[in-house]
Amino acid sequence: MIDALNHLPRPRAGADQLAERFGDLAPPLTARQAAVESARCLYCYDAPCVNACPSEIDIPSFIHRISDENLQGAAERILSANILGGSCARVCPTEILCQQACVRNNAQECAPVLIGQLQRYALDNAHFTEHPFTRSPATGKRIAVVGAGPAGLSCAHRLAMHGHDVVVFEACDKAGGLNEYGIARYKLVDDYAQREVEFLLGIGGIEIRHGQRLGSNLSLGELRDQYDAVFLGLGLNAVRQLGLADEEAPGVLAATAYIRELRQADDLSQLPLADRCLVIGAGNTAIDMAVQMSRLGARDVNLVYRRGHADMGATDHEQDIAKANQVRLHTWARPDAVLLDDAGKVRGMRFARTALADGRLRDTGETFELAADAIFKAIGQRFDDASLIDPVAAQLARDGERIHVDAHMRTSLAGVYAGGDCTALGQDLTVQAVQHGKLAAEAIHAQLMLNVEAA
């Protein structure tokens, strides 16, 4: 995929220097910092932070345990609600979730408790000698989980805990989903995604089969026949297109494709560098792309969004990160045309200025051009319809393009459940996917055990 950028130069900085630039964006708390910060928690009752956490972690309790120097107890509290609590601690937009809701998040109280950082501290320092959860007696049930991303892994773990055997089917070489392939490198360092998967699998009873892609070498019909239940955690695997001519020209690439390469690269100095870089979009992926290119050494990084700052999907915190990394944020401008040089490679983009008129976004008639060596599309991910082409899968009811589920993560097909970004339920967040997986596992377990009792 990155072939589209092979004509570009490589970063000027050496591998070591780049590795340093891609180290932890938010370094972990020291023991002293954790002690000070945990003591700031007011141990609220019916705590707003818990209500704000999609995975319903008992935050006051785990922070209280940190304060009590009971790190294993704290970690167990987190993991019992969210088995991927370690990566969520690093990638959650806490500024719009728990820390937004923290009762100390107001001027009088100075600042919210650093819940995400404390969660990371507990999990990094708990040091379990064996997996903290034990499996219930074997039920003899086998469940297929499609997708080894946060939703699938969470579902698999909870099912294994209830005594079921789980086979996870994964298209990629590595498990972890977006934690492995999609998160900015400096947010999840030191191969954390793989270490977390390894920890999760420590419960036993989970087999992961790689190179298995639904709609290609795997069909829902077969899975339904062979397993007692199926969970679909497919994610969003298609990239939204700009709808412009020359969108496939060398120099135009999906931001997710580049981030994926960047995360997997052993040597960052071998990545193509877009010295003049354009990122189209305003979500966290757009910010991640722009900031990472800036850290690779790009001199001129521009992020362009068709609406205003207030409409951006990226949180204020993310926008601040962009600004701190010399990313220029342009608003009220819409991609109008990809500009190519004589060799057919990207040389820039023309934008049409936009404005709101009667509540609708319209072109003002004014245009401008920005020079660029590469253009990265980050205007959103789409559900990949190709995964649901087999006759059984095709029957699944949809919410728009995504798979329809009810509150128990049940699809329209009996015995088939779904969760995470491939459903329309909740927000497209890792922590939301983990919760979906957990809820689906509970629903599957309840259904299967009901069937056992009835039999």
Partner: protein
Amino acid sequence: MADLSIEFAGIKAPNPFWLASAPPTDKAYNVVRAFEAGWGGVVWKTLGEDPAAVNVSSRYSAHYGANRQVQGINNIELITDRSLEINLREITQVKKDWPDRALIVSLMVPCEEQSWKFILPLVEATGADGIELNFGCPHGMPERGMGAAVGQVPEYVEMVTRWCKTYCALPVIVKLTPNITDIRQSARAAHRGGADAVSLINTINSITSVDLDRMVAHPIVGDQSTHGGYCGSAVKPIALNMVAEIARDPETRGLPICGIGGIGNWRDAAEFIALGSGAVQVCTAAMLHGFRIVEDMKDGLARWMDQHGHRNLEAFRGQAVGHTTDWKYLDINYKSVAHIDQDACIGCGRCHIACEDTSHQAIASTAKADGTHIYSVIEEECVGCNLCQITCPVENCIDMVAQDTGKPYLNWTQDPRNPYREAS
């Protein structure tokens, strides 16, 4: 600025802040630094008979609050471990160099008349302003028949006080141990013996914590520990009560009291003075922060006095004594009800769960659509216990509002519900 100078039991000092007999007043070097910093007086660390006491290594341990904030310190240090001769020589010189400061000498010798008769003239000859009898040290010295071993027996307190008044012309301050049942018994005994004043409290028997790996309490000496004497802000409530008990005891009325126990700032000092203390002694706060804190104490106290029109300490000393009474004289008809300032409330729910689980179910929690809650007082259920106000992390968010019940003052001795009430 208000006048902070005092005359306490005949001893003059430029301010009421004295350093208590303890490590900070162990030798001339420390005491001179304290005077340079502005302390009004010091009580020189307790002298004893030669040979001097011998101390162990590892002497203090602490009880911590959140963020390693020290609530209290426990110590197992004994009286001075330097010779009597050196101490007396240094005291003489320091008093000569600092004539305007109060210099009191703490003493502890065996409970024998001869021992006191020997040491008292030596101390008097230094020019010191007074003596303080250490009847309170709870560790090390009782094993030798001194310290708390004397302070816990009122007859001994009275006897030794009388010896001191007999063999010494200096004001005698009797320092009381809190490790007793009724502090008034000790104070009355000192009073009978002719004491010019009492000072209290000395430290409280304590073990602060246990090392759970080594299974030994702190402070650790080798692989053993022992109980020590507890001081610092954690003991302030105990000290305030004992001061008040003596201040309002008819038998000791008018006996000067030097307040000691957890005084760390001007407000603490003002509270001790309001309950009758004519001077205060500080130790732990100085040990935690250095002598410089006295500047803040003096400044804060003087400004507060100015704001309230108190020209000197006597203007407010003892003003809270008359409002301290026995439970049976409290007004049964008084009623207060909690009021929550919804604008100040941050929604932590602590008042609700405290009241719901452990008190009177008088704070309702109403969920809002956004996942937060509104907490409101059910006035009919509220007994005015103050628990919600105590649990609230926001100052002045919960107010206890006095209710107009329209009922007259009525105490338990008059209450018809009291089967043992006094006949009217």
